[in-house]
Symmetry: D2
Subunit: 333 residues, 4 copies
């Protein structure tokens, strides 16, 4: 069986998904839609697919599934429209920046027994997957404590900051999802610290650029997250998980692994400096997993519910910073 | 000038300090005192020093300084007695488990213009010192965020747990001091999470074995600490400091640095499994620093005040766990 | 300009090159030829190209270049035929196992002013390329000594051993080329040691499985190579270059970079266990470089001459083992 | 039992051994002798031992053993004198630069059933010892191939070069001993390459500064050595041993193990830059092993025979370079 795709949004991430779809023997890219004709044309020309309107894709009988990479504020509406149209939906995170809107959207998905997968791509990184596989094999025993250090090479443009929902919903949300993926038990408590250390303009936009979060589950499992919008040495993405029998960690990735020795010491090159090169394999594996699920192998995961909980953890962190106290997830969800 | 020492306490840590004193060309070990004659005799025999009572050392005219390694509940009293007797004092941490008692002790030290150095040995570890030196050189710019992972190979005996003051005052206190040493600005806010994951008997004794702490300074600098009483792979002691221009970190230490490659992968041996082998160099450098200060080179540091603040941070963490909220240091001190 | 390709040989390595050609926007795969129809059909089906005979490709007007991945004993003949037919030729190494045959083939290439590139893929590995780039930048000053450790996960089938030309011509030849690539000066002297330690059947087939080589240039630059047909931990491929100002090295590559810590120590997974996964990027970059050269960007390199010299070094090593002496390259070439 | 020592030679290495002897509870430093009174006085003052003449130590009844750290050209004579005097002898390497002289000296030792240990300190380095322990445990199966990279931070003074016996007898000799220690089978063949790349003055003094050696045993086990008198990044001393089941390696040692990350990449400090700090633990363990042997625990090893064979391998390397051929050890010994 071949899954026939419509691609909604032909921007940077749309191109990544177009490549993943066309490179998968089980899938076919039938059509692309974008408000900017040039963007859609570039993909259509490279991969030989149609350019259609969103409406045309919605009603198309030759399309089984859509990948939504349009702006965030259109996600929930598009999910609802395409689920109602009987298409399987892969949507870039987040579903929406409002928890209430995410909930109502998921209600629609459930009512229509729709298939919805959310783009937490890091779960598909081969190194993080291998970490999870070790946990599943029991190598480290019962998971007890997680440490996540996640630092971006640089801050996004200030105008993006303004509509991003803030660092917890925009950046930490990946780490919230990763913590859940690794802890294996739902988080019940959130405490967070936040400051503006990188760029005062970020503070002026109402956001933070340097944050810390502590998470705790009902049985006492714990996770720590350290986030910054600045890392001069590249895209710093490390996780370590400690269990009753040992620990497992994933190191940073760099484009070349050479080392220069001189009187100044031993120097290795910086890390990847861009999420798209850092997570190249993850993006391809994510779409392959969606295609596999639609072909009956496994379920589409992470789900809309995973998107909801990660956003709720972000909301809890925002509240924790504002009220200087530990926030229970039950206060939010 | 040679500094003449009396050693109070001839136990495990007393032996370490005896070796450091006798190995230092600027110092002489004159006498040792211990409630257990056999312990004192062992040191006297090995290094050719006197065995004397604490009272005799207190009044001795041939002794300039004392090193206090007696049980914790005697520290504050002994500091006061020896400061009054005009001796310079090096005291193992903590000064006392009660913040009020530490304050009154430091009042006495100040009133007598006494010299008091507190045994936060990790500041003298060559690797952590090198980290601090990079910060001082400006290599990483302004310090922004600190991440400390500190895990013991195993929990101490339950009867020790009961009189330890709890994990924050017994174990995390080293990390509180290290965070202050590295942040370069006083901590103003503390939030902590705690659980019993390693051994229910620790919980039954009223303590935790797995904790996390977030610290924040007035200007927004932040530190995270992850502590556990369990690490099957040895004594896990890592720090990383992120600044405006880069980061500097100190890796774990292991007794041998070989690697075995086989079909099972690449394996390096476990870490040091005991704090005394892990911190051998730090213990010697700490006493050397005290001797140097008494010889007029530098000041005796870390000070009693450093001991006080680290304990106050521990008290704040205890309160944060109990009240599920961020605690201001100003509530404690 | 688009370079139009014919692919000769649709086996394992042919598939790798087919993928590289079709993934390159500057190239088009027009036709494939293989003695086994099924192999050719698989590639034709996947990439939508023709199946043609070698003769038809030779005379085709819609084909600019060929990639030769047929059995070794056909290489020299095919190079001559396609150069005469005016096609640019990329040929898998080796051109031939006989130095005389390689020379006569290169005479034909020269006579027809043909373009010939030889598949020493390792020059295109991003890590080895980065090593070379550091040398070119002058980071390590004048190159003085090279150390190459190159060990295969396992020996090839015995029947392959028999027609491989022996380990120096089959396996070490890659390291000879790498040594030349890094030394930046022609090798003039070769000394080698050889033994059968892995499998007596290899000895029975007249070959060795464990060899060492020392190379020297006229000015005294030196290189060492250590080769084995056995490496339980994966595909071991390391190089280090020492110069007057420092050194640069390339480490091994592994599919996942996680680490498990337990009472047994710290373990990372084995290396890649197959040259095709180890050198995935190198194979793609090699063809891209050939395409670029045909499009006027740079020259096709490594050249036939590079293939000739690497083979001569292998012949010298064989002679050195037989005669237990240093062999001058001038005795061979 | 306490072993009573005389120390012959109070120079740099004499001081290292004096510290090791006085720090060992099973040993006592009774007397020191040196042609320079000031040198002997420094040791006598620090450790409270006598200053005596070599003759007085020779005839002393309160001395069991001597440590010889006088200039190389006195070693063989002193060994003979003290063995005849019934003292156990530890002698710094080499016994002599002349193979004939070493042989006649060992004849005297044998004739008097003397105890002679030679100072190949690297066998006692904890990391190299751990490598050997893995081999002995069978972790890597049968040893097949050894790779040793050994580079000095800088060349010794030219006047030392002149009397050193040349790089093979002065520097590579350590690696010859290490290769024998690790191969577990006697070397039968030696091939070497040599050049002057670091300093023409070394060539003018009749020596080389950059050399390579290949060794082979009767059963085909092999070792490679790469040596240089230059390493800008510190004292480069690495070994790796490959066996039928896997490999084991020892990494370089550095004084501090921190890492700085910045836009320029990840930098660790240089290695130790001096053999005495690099091999601090090895020097102490070496003397402890000698003391233990004299106390009936184990035998004094490495022996005079080990010194002889290492020198013979150096002579073979010299001959190999001169004659451009593989030299059999049986031609030398």
């Amino acid at each position: 069986m071949t899954v026939k795709f419509g691609l909604l949004g032909a921007g940077r991430i749309g191109k990544v998904h177009a490549k993943a779809i066309t490179g998968d023997a089980q899938a076919q890219l039938v059509a692309v839609a974008d408000a900017f004709p040039a963007a859609a044309q570039a993909i259509a020309a490279q991969y030989g697919c149609d350019i259609r309107s969103i409406e045309a894709i919605e009603t198309a009988t030759d399309i089984d599934a859509v990948v939504i990479c349009t702006p965030t504020d259109t996600h929930a509406d598009l999910i609802e429209r395409f689920v109602k149209a009987g298409k399987a939906v892969f949507c870039e995170k987040p579903i929406d920046l409002s928890l209430a809107r995410v909930k109502s959207c998921l209600d629609v998905v459930r009512a229509h027994k729709g298939t919805l997968m959310v783009g937490f791509n890091r779960r598909f990184d081969p190194h993080f997957k291998a970490v999870r596989a070790e946990i599943d094999k029991g190598t480290i025993g019962d998971v007890e404590m997680v440490v996540i250090v996640s630092r971006d090479p640089g801050a996004p443009p200030i105008d993006y900051i303004g509509r991003s929902g803030g660092i917890f919903r925009d950046m930490t949300i990946h780490d919230f999802d990763m913590a859940r993926f690794l802890l294996g038990e739902e988080v019940t408590e959130v405490a967070a610290t936040a400051a503006v250390l990188v760029d005062p303009a970020i503070g002026a936009a109402g956001d933070f650029d340097s944050v810390q979060v502590m998470l705790k589950t009902a049985s006492g499992k714990q996770a720590m997250i350290s986030n910054s919008r600045r890392a001069t040495y590249g895209y710093d993405q490390r996780i370590e998980i400690h269990g009753s029998l040992g620990a497992v960690s994933a190191e940073n990735q760099r484009p070349v692994s050479i080392e220069v020795a001189s009187a100044a010491g031993y120097t290795r090159p910086p890390l990847h400096d861009f999420f798209m090169t850092r997570y190249t394999e993850a993006y391809a594996a994510e779409i392959a997993s969606f295609i596999a699920a639609l072909s009956g192998k496994g379920t589409a995961s992470p789900s809309g519910e995973d998107g909801l909980i990660a956003l709720a953890l972000a909301d809890a962190a925002v509240k924790s910073v504002a009220e200087k106290r530990t926030v229970l997830l039950s206060e939010i969800l």
